[in-house]
């Protein structure tokens, strides 16, 4: 009964919205708004094809490569900056500026420096996604509990062991906040780097459909983009729940008391 109820909650509103959409597109053959059935049909036609291999997978690959690099660089640099006072003082204003630069403006810059290539797109994604991870790691490292830090020191846990057993785990909830922001930034940068300057990729395909007024195809591209965003978000939540089980458990206990 309880499960049925939560299923009803989960699918109720979406079903209502789809019915409204279906009813609104019924009869009147609006050029710009395809009906649900047409969209599903077009979606299958357009994306269950070679296009998926030639344009969608490479896009996703570039995005994941960029985000992965950004996370590694961000955590490493964040650990160094978070634990070193003078380094933090030295770099703070510069980082404050760099992270405030809206990442999309990097696309024309990178295009100039590197030309239109895979690595240009990846570097753009890295450059845009690194800041949330880096700054959150710095914050997380700085907020390490003083008693826990003293405990580790009194047991002579220093150097790399300190990084591995104390700094990274205690900063991980904060790091995850940064990773989440990076994921959505990475997706945005992937799409617009292809929209701005490219002859392949998902972003390019969507723009191509729009320019040739292939409206249902365009909508199917937007839908695919949405699905990738949703998939990425669910993947993140899954990983986060696993990795930070201790954190959520602890929070729950604290809230209960």
């Amino acid at each position: 009964m309880k499960i049925l109820k939560s299923i009803a909650y989960a699918v109720g509103l979406p079903i209502i919205l789809i019915i409204i959409w279906w009813a609104a597109t019924l009869g009147t053959a609006n050029f710009y708004a395809p009906s649900p059935a047409l969209l599903v049909e077009t979606f299958a036609q357009v994306w269950f094809s070679e296009l998926f291999l030639t344009d969608v997978l490479p896009s996703i690959g570039r995005m994941l490569a960029g985000i992965a690099l950004a996370i590694m660089i961000g955590i490493t640099a964040g650990l160094a900056i978070g634990t070193t006072r003078w380094l933090r003082m030295l770099l703070e204003p510069t980082l404050e500026f760099l992270r405030a630069v809206p990442p999309p403006v990097l696309i024309p810059v990178m295009m100039l420096i590197m030309g239109i290539s895979d690595s240009m797109k990846i570097v753009t994604i890295v450059f845009g996604c690194v800041w949330p991870v880096l700054l959150n790691t710095v914050e997380g490292v700085r907020a390490v509990d003083s008693v826990l830090s003293d405990s580790s020191r009194s047991y002579a846990i220093g150097g790399l062991a300190r990084v591995r057993h104390l700094l990274i785990p205690s900063a991980s909830p904060q790091i995850m906040v940064g990773v989440r922001q990076s994921l959505s930034l990475g997706l945005i940068l992937m799409v617009i780097s292809e929209m701005f300057a490219s002859s392949s990729g998902l972003g390019f395909s969507i723009i191509k459909f729009q320019r040739s007024f292939a409206i249902p195809e365009m909508w199917s591209g937007i839908a695919l983009l949405g699905l990738i965003g949703v998939g990425l978000s669910f993947l993140f939540q899954f990983v986060e729940r696993k990795a930070l089980r201790w954190y959520h458990g602890q929070k729950e206990v604290e809230h209960a008391s």
Binding site: R99, P102, V109, V191, V230
Partner: protein, 268 residues
Amino acid sequence: MAGRRPATAQRQQWAKRSLGLVGVLGFLLMWQCVSLTGVINPQFLPPASAAITALVVSLGTLEFWEAVRETMLAWGIGLGIAAVTGIVAGFVIGSSSFIRKATHSTIEFLRPIPSVGLIPIAVILFGVKIESSLMLIIYAAFWQILIQVLYGVADVDMVADNTARSFGLGPVSRLRYVTFPSALPFIFTGVRLAAAIALILAITAELIIGSPGLGHAIALAQSGGAVAEMYGLVLAAGLIGVMVNLTMRLLEKKTLSWHSSIRSEIVI
């Protein structure tokens, strides 16, 4: 341990500022060297001095300020609309557990959809007008604010709410005196995060769609081969970003000085 002596604190502040300045100068110097020594072709990455000169020159032109005005206008209107709708929707949804549960899956599904997916729709609907920018900005900023407001409404202290109830406060007064103040820090966090995202989307719309503003000017400079000017504009975009961030943080600190999350921030 008690606080440090004022003299020590001042010295520290000074050390912090001067080290930070050294960092910025070092960054610019590195840029200058990378360009002048040809590690990166100066045609594609002109020296920092050239970019700064170009920025200073464009600060004196009407076009530059016109572009900044367009960008900030789209940013301001978009953020404003997103804030109002996000906060209202957040309180409506958060007010009842039925609505919250019923909308949860839909929100979780719509939220991660990248707003840049709306670009082709915006082009078809509005072309290169400000409305295109607004559409992207509002979509991206709305979810950010809505989610934070929902957290905030859920975070209301049950003891405070029950106290208010026991004193006979009605739903409207409770919203005014209990729910709203306790959700306020979350609302600010949402608006602060949304402000940065709104700027990103404003620039994106100008860059990709070509609606007027700083992003469009950058794209024009790039395609026109005015490389130093382009870097000058990129610097300007960064400075605007810094100002947006600083303003939002200042606003948050001033308004929420009573709240513990801010108080502890100052102590640390």
